[in-house]
């Protein structure tokens, strides 16, 4: 039985003092500097082997047979033609006849063959007879009162209404009220490396190379699904082309090859193609919010009443935080999950936050105009009190100066000509506190160091954190340190998700390294004529604190170990990391009113993550987050054919993604808070770019912007709707 998660923060231990992140002034820091990724050269030169690149002797290739229908009952499955096809070694039934497929791309069966092309061709020869059933391809269709029963437990599921304060009094206190409906759309994760795995059995032991955000989590799930001992499963993931939340589940692309490999007595590989990836590897749910909100004459938010809904596909929820960050003393919110026949949502980088952020931030700009206040002023008046984990007011003021907010014109660019410019802002918040992770450190007598941790690097640079932390702590040169991650035979670590990986493992590596260093001090102290407590390590030397000229070079010190290496272990402990971050973003755009085309010209992101371990890695998280959110605002849009429920753009062509030239100047300001310890930064930067961009578009055009994505035709429609309603500036 699983434990309820998560856990409250326990109290710091004595290790928190002993191995605190502070660095003595007589030493050069490694932590907080810009250390390039240790595996960067391997990645850019192609030496890094991703799961996609794994090839095992005698390996077969599996390919799924998937439903072309959004909803159907499987009447029969006929494998005879497929079995006779060249190279085919085996078939597997994933869903039995009589059961239903619930979306286009739902897995029915699989085929394994000698080569991938053979498997692809053979999968098409599996004849599945379907009885086509009613389906929904939109939230609106599923919400019709007379809609057919597609989901027997309800096509929709209403959540509890949450209410705080006195709504009537809130609206009574309002000088202005606004009613509007906001919405965001479904996007998919689009990991560059699609979901894939290679499974190989040796007796009753399974080795699985999986593109996964959690080698340990995958191990447990695979064992559970196959009903074998977790100790008999080893999961390896050395390099990974992105997950964004979609690679936590051990799903068909792992379990199918695991089962077929057992049956067929050969390693089996399964790699999804881009279409399968779009259809059946997760997505971010849609969000709709019908909001009524009130604001006082002096710009204090008084009331918020929101009815929300959204879809996470065939049977999954779509909730999101609302209102987001800003304080409405009186508020009510009722949410309904709507089920439609599409692939299922999975956590996607800051689940729920971009949606809640969009609704709230767009609403705030409209309220600011009603009151006649600068939108930044309105925000400053309604933020939660400033605290180390709630620094928005300070960041907004800082950012306004750096970005040139004083050059922002009031809503609606009055300059003649078709190209309008605008600015927008938006805030974000995230938890990002990890609490589990173990590490092992070994100092070899030749001075080389092995650091092991069963975390994994989903592209964030996790591997590089091991030498950064161990190098800081041991004082060993970085190139003497070898980092091992991405293997479930290594010490336990949690999933790389929820921005918890770094705060989860960094304390363990710090403690293990600290213990190893202390053990080394004990073994070499006599050679320096000092007591172990009098020693310090740094810059490649072990030295006497009081007399740094009495020192040993790192390798010379290690030589004194004789033939006996030092080993030390560490576990996450409180006191090295914390939870809750805040950030703000500014956006500047141009909008061509004759084409509807939005170009983002500048983004400023101010973000904190406690102690910055590696500046390059932290900044790269912000770049990636901003670009992802820009894609959400402008480009990505899962488009379904309304009459067939079939996805029209399961590719990277009509499913638009920013290219290099579509990415603007991005300025990142990392706010150092070393005293708070390590906090994750993977998610918060992707929360607010989209709403900052959308508000900048609103500022440029002077028309309400209430839904994403900002495709040209939708921007033109927003302009037209406003003009036709006789509107001046919004």
């Amino acid at each position: 039985m699983q434990q309820p998660t998560p856990q409250p923060t326990p109290q710091p231990t004595e290790n928190a003092t002993k191995y605190a992140w502070t660095v003595p002034p007589d030493r050069t820091r490694v932590i907080g500097t810009s250390v390039p990724r240790v595996d960067g050269p391997d990645k850019v030169s192609g030496r890094a082997k991703y799961t996609y690149d794994i090839a095992r002797p005698g390996m077969l290739h599996a390919r799924a047979v998937r439903s072309p229908h959004p909803h159907a009952r499987i009447v029969s499955i006929d494998f005879s033609a497929a079995k006779a096809a060249p190279g085919v070694r085996g078939v597997l039934t994933w869903k039995d006849p009589g059961t239903e497929v619930m979306y286009q791309g739902d897995v029915v069966a699989a085929v394994a063959a000698d080569t991938e092309p053979q498997a692809r061709d053979a999968a098409r020869l599996v004849r599945v007879e379907y009885e086509v059933l009613p389906f929904f391809s939109s939230e609106a269709a599923a919400m019709q009162p007379d809609a057919p029963v597609v989901f027997p437990n309800g096509n929709t599921q209403a959540g509890q209404t949450q209410e705080t304060g006195d709504l009537a009094a809130g609206f009574a206190a309002a000088a202005h009220t606004l009613e509007a409906t906001y919405s965001t759309h479904v996007i998919t994760h689009v990991c560059l490396e699609s979901h894939c795995s290679v499974c190989e059995w040796n007796g009753d032991q399974l080795t699985a190379w999986v593109s996964t955000q959690g080698v340990h989590a995958s191990k447990q799930q695979i064992a559970g699904a196959l009903k074998i001992d977790q100790a008999n499963v080893r999961v390896i993931c050395q390099y990974m082309g992105g997950g964004f939340g979609s690679k936590v589940t051990a799903d068909a692309p792992i379990i199918i090859p695991a089962r077929m490999s057992k049956d067929l007595g050969a390693p089996v590989k399964m790699v999804l193609d881009r279409k399968e990836e779009h259809l059946d590897s997760g997505n971010r749910p849609s969000a709709f919010a019908r909001v009524r909100a009130g604001v006082s004459a002096d710009g204090m938010l008084t009331a918020f009443d929101g009815v929300t809904w959204g879809t996470g596909g065939a049977g999954q929820g779509a909730n999101f935080p609302l209102p987001y960050i800003y304080q409405f003393p009186n508020r009510r919110r009722a949410h309904t999950n709507v089920y439609i026949n599409t692939g299922l949502q999975r956590p996607m980088r800051a689940p729920g936050h971009p949606q809640g952020c969009f609704v709230t931030e767009m609403l705030l700009d409209e309220l600011a105009d009603l009151v006649g206040l600068d939108p930044l002023e309105l925000r400053l008046k309604n933020l939660p009190p400033t605290a180390p984990d709630a620094m928005w007011a300070e960041y907004y003021r800082m950012g306004a100066k750096q970005f040139g907010w004083d050059r922002r014109h009031p809503t609606g660019d009055r300059n003649p000509g078709p190209i309008k410019t605008g600015m927008g802002v938006s805030a974000n918040q995230w938890g990002g506190g990890g609490r589990a992770g173990a590490a092992h450190v070994r100092i070899q007598p030749d001075g080389s160091v092995l650091v092991q941790c069963g975390s994994q690097d989903l592209g964030t640079g996790t591997r590089t954190l091991l030498p950064v932390i161990a190098g800081e702590t041991l004082g060993a040169p970085l190139d003497a340190i070898r980092a091992e991650i991405g293997d479930s035979n290594l010490p336990f670590a949690g999933v790389s998700g929820g921005s918890t990986a770094t705060p989860g493992i960094a304390p363990a590596i710090r403690i293990a390294s600290g213990r190893a260093r202390d053990a080394l001090f004990a073994r070499v102290a006599s050679a320096l004529d000092a007591a172990p407590e009098e020693l310090a390590a740094g810059d490649g030397r072990i030295f006497v604190k009081a007399a740094p000229e009495r020192s040993l070079a790192w390798r010379a010190a290690c030589k004194l170990l004789g033939q006996e290496p030092i080993t030390a272990d560490g576990q996450w402990e409180p006191g090295f990391s914390s939870v809750n971050t805040s950030g703000v973003q500014f956006a500047e755009v141009t909008v061509d009113t004759e084409t509807g085309i939005v170009k983002v010209t500048r983004i400023l992101a101010i973000q904190d993550c406690g102690l910055v371990l590696d500046r390059l890695l932290a900044e790269s998280q912000v770049y990636g987050g901003v670009i992802g959110s820009l894609n959400f605002a402008l480009f990505e849009d899962r488009t379904l054919d309304p009459r067939t429920g079939v996805m029209l753009n399961p590719n990277m062509e009509h499913y638009l993604l920013a290219g290099m030239t579509d990415v603007p100047q991005i300025d990142v300001v990392l706010m150092d808070m070393p005293e708070r310890g390590v906090i994750g930064i993977g998610e918060p930067p992707t929360v607010s770019t989209a709403s900052a961009i959308a508000n900048a578009v609103r500022n440029a055009l002077g028309v309400p912007i209430r839904s994403l994505p900002l495709h040209p035709h939708r921007v033109l429609a927003a302009i037209d709707a406003h003009t036709n309603s006789g509107g001046g500036p919004a």
Binding site: P68, T595, G596, D641, P650, H654, L656, H711, L716, A717
Partner: protein, 328 residues
Amino acid sequence: MKAFAYVNPSNESDALAALRSGGIVRPLGGGQDLLARLKDYLDEPDRLVSVKGALNREAAATGDGGLRIGAAMRLFEVAEHPEILKRYPALAEAASTVGSPQIRHQGTVGGNLNQRPRCWYFRQEEFVCFKKGGNRCFAADGENQYHSIFGNDGPSKIVHPSSLAVPLVAYGARFRLASASGEREVAAADYFTLPSMQTVQKENVLADDELLTHVILPAPGNVRSGHYEVRFKESRDWPMAFATVVLAMNGPSIDSARVVLGAVAPVPWRAEDAERVLRGRLLDDAAADVAGEAAVRGAKPLAQNAYKIRITRTAVKRAVLAAAGRSV
């Protein structure tokens, strides 16, 4: 993907002979369209005949002051060719924005002109539409935001995908087509065909055993040309609407005009109303405005693409301004 035989002839006549070697045979240029269609199970030829090494890859002057471009010329070469840049700048510009640098380095002139539609129903196997031998056009009442606003009375609502076709029609180019039994020349404007129930599975008059071997451009004369593409993304994307204008000048005023629209119709679309209103006008802002207005007269949007009228008007206006040497 169905296994196919691969033929790599080194000259035109061998290539033409290979086209008649039986079964379904397709010429292969850079493969940027064809290989994707094979992988998506949209086409299942028995044989591919590579024409990259068989067809001409140069741009050579013709006796009457024009230019003759071999169909194997790569798109990046079209974009960078000094004569094309100087005398047919709209063509060079159109070639320079296609897809991405990789696509422009692989893609050929012949492949660009003969590529199949990018309609998202056509490109998804699940939809067996008129173009694939089915009995309906899914875009007619489906997601048709990227479909045609002109020439869409026929069975298919596609827009022609070729960027090069539009300036070529505007410059009055002709195409040389050859088969093992002879050759012919067809005006670019007559090469592309509006879909009828009989012709809906093709976009042009090319026969299965023919190749497009050359593009022949007439001497430009005293013209100014302008080209404008309304593009959302700056790379790896398709223009939402675009226009080439070629203006024969008489001093400061326009003697005659060719205005051709792209991504709005199943063929490169001549905007004859716009050509008429430009005739005899000074080349100025007002000319750009009236040409834009005239160009979209008669547009018949589908349910979701009325916005294309506005961006088409913008494209024409800006193409005229570009011809006048002005940017937006």
